[in-house]
Amino acid sequence: SQTIHQWPATLVQPVGSPLSLECTVEGTSNPNLYWYRQAAGRGLQLLFYSVGIGQISSEVPQNLSASRPQDRQFILSSKKLLLSDSGFYLCAWSVITSSGRSSYEQYFGPGTRLTVT
């Protein structure tokens, strides 16, 4: 069965410090991978998605970047955190259909709670 992991689960970082959040997926190959941010009491905001190794699409201009060094590994980074980067970060994956589009369901990881102080 497929599983998705995120770490760390919680993180408190000072303003201006770097960030690295990791997401890995097991039990599937060549998934689409996504990073979302969820502010308190808000919906999910898509930050990045990747359809393959080294392929990253950014949805929102921001202080963050993403990388996909391996097929089932997705990393969210920042060189210098801002207070506004605080939030709940979720990684998700979906299957790619033969037409190249995501299939239906997205599967979410447990999330990382980031607090920038």
Binding site: N32, Y36, G41, R42, G43, L44, L46, Y49, V51, S57, E59, L90, A92, R101, S102, Y104, E105, Q106, Y107, F108, G109, P110, G111, R113
Partner: protein, 112 residues
Amino acid sequence: GESVGLHLPTLSVQEGDNSIINCAYSNSASDYFIWYKQESGKGPQFIIDIRSNMDKRQGQRVTVLLNKTVKHLSLQIAATQPGDSAVYFCAERLPYGQNFVFGPGTRLSVLP
């Protein structure tokens, strides 16, 4: 931009009653919709989905209704239980790209 919204940000129901959570979507060409449940501090969990060629789909204690005429989606939970307390999100799959758009969520509180 296009977005998915919810009519009620919070909903309180008595245990045992039925719950109805509503959602409006804006892209008439979206072809697939999902309801997720998110408990505090956890990632969203898939509840039920529906394709745009359907108007109703039933699961265990849950039913999703799709009204394409008015671009409205609803989630019905039968015999609501305390374990149903969570935030519920609807999402639409846009007709282009790889993206889903999520609504802000409705918090469901089940009263004893």
